[in-house]
Symmetry: C2
Subunit: 231 residues, 2 copies
DNA sequence: AGTAAATATTGTTGTTTGTACAATAACTAA
DNA sequence: TTAGTTATTGTACAAACAACAATATTTACT
């Protein structure tokens, strides 16, 4: 091990904040925690904490998310890194945002560690958050919308079995446009979906057929043929 | 100022590494420096260094790049963040990659500070680099290729005035495909280009007309109309 | 059982965009 | 003037897109 020649530079800390997106009532929701600690005690925040000295980033992101919310087994992706010198009142803390997409109904969340509460909040009702978390949240949401156009991630938000209308509504919500139902169905023809014999229940009109995403076939056609997802 | 309650966590350091891409002889080149310092002394590396305690990230990236290479006035964009615990032999150093696109001929580069040499290296001749810089370079190159498809950044690499063939060759190189010349020209019709009365010189065949990118009109049509660049 | 209401699903048509390839024009160098 | 080379335009067909009409299926109500 070399002798460290620049001790003064080892005064930083590094944190990870995970923006967890879910879909409820046709709107994107975000998982927030209420801080039981200073600074910003009692304010809402994106779940996040400091990385341990010998921890890899992706592991740390999983650990931190689980410690605060008991949320587990979600696929976290790196987003942007934020490092304004004054973003943390207690010192120089640089943070990387991670994000994940989940089906809200399928996961149990529970406040834990220094999180006093956890809850899903519709995107348009996000309050003022701790630190620069509003900034982080907004820029990660923009990233999500961009990714929706060129990666098949809508299926991570939709229920495992969904109607084509639910899928369409998600895109209409994200892109802020209305789409023609007939044309939408033609447009998504190349996306490999499994058509089930199952239908919606408890609807007071003709129930829609349920579909699910065929990820195996998707893998195959993206690698062997040069298929490129796009909306 | 709050009292810091977790001193042990303030043992990290944070660096920025800038991947500078340029185009030469139809191939992407990358600006590398030769390290005059341990660790990895005498090895080639992406220009990068530690961030000062009260420095914002984007400013730091510019400063560091200038100190090592005298390269100035380039637009740096954030890419991925790398934080494997063992990526730096002298301690826990997390790094964010930045990247920029430049016209090689227009900029003067010069080794400075602890950079012993600077040079442009064609992408396919990149040697083994210090730290995890090969990993950083490769993933940033992938990001560049992706961005080429949905942002008009090819014009930052091409000469200010370029032929349509040069533009086509850049995309053929980046995407690894051949394109039909006639169809390429039709495809780029919606992109606002200024057609000059100038032509290639010193070519031993019919010289091609020179074009330049009309960024003003591009701004206008992306904001007012909903035009979306794509290749 | 029959019918209205609501939504799912399929079709039709015209327009735009993409692809393959042919034809022509423009310039250099000898 | 001509051969060689490349730029540029044109044509014809196929595929994708957009707007809208028409039909089919189911639920809820009378």
């Amino acid at each position: 091990m070399y002798k460290i020649a620049f001790d003064d530079f080892f005064n930083y800390s590094f944190s990870l904040d995970s923006v967890i997106f879910g879909l409820r009532n046709g709107e994107i929701n975000v998982l927030l925690i209420k801080r039981a600690l200073e600074p910003f005690k009692n304010m809402w925040a994106i779940p996040g904490d400091l990385v341990y000295p010998d921890e890899d980033l992706s592991n740390a992101a999983e650990r931190i998310l689980f410690e605060l919310t008991k949320l587990n087994n979600v696929e976290l992706h790196q987003a942007q890194t934020f490092g304004h010198p004054k973003r943390h009142p207690q010192g120089r803390v640089i943070t990387s945002a991670y994000f994940a997409l989940v089906r809200i109904e399928e996961f149990h969340v529970e406040a834990s560690s220094w999180a006093e509460e956890v809850k899903w909040v519709p995107f348009h009702e996000i309050p003022e958050l701790a630190f620069d978390h509003n900034l982080i949240l907004n820029s990660t949401f923009e990233l999500l919308k961009k990714k929706l156009t060129y990666e098949p991630i809508c299926f991570d938000l939709l229920p495992k079995r969904f109607t084509l209308n639910e899928m369409q509504q998600l895109y209409e919500y994200a892109f802020g446009v209305e789409m023609d139902k007939a044309n939408f169905r033609k447009k998504i023809k190349p996306i490999p979906l499994i058509s089930h014999d199952e239908k919606q229940i408890n609807v007071k009109h003709r129930p829609a057929k349920l579909f699910s995403f065929n990820s195996d076939v998707y893998e195959k056609i993206t690698t062997t043929e040069g298929y490129q997802f796009k909306m």
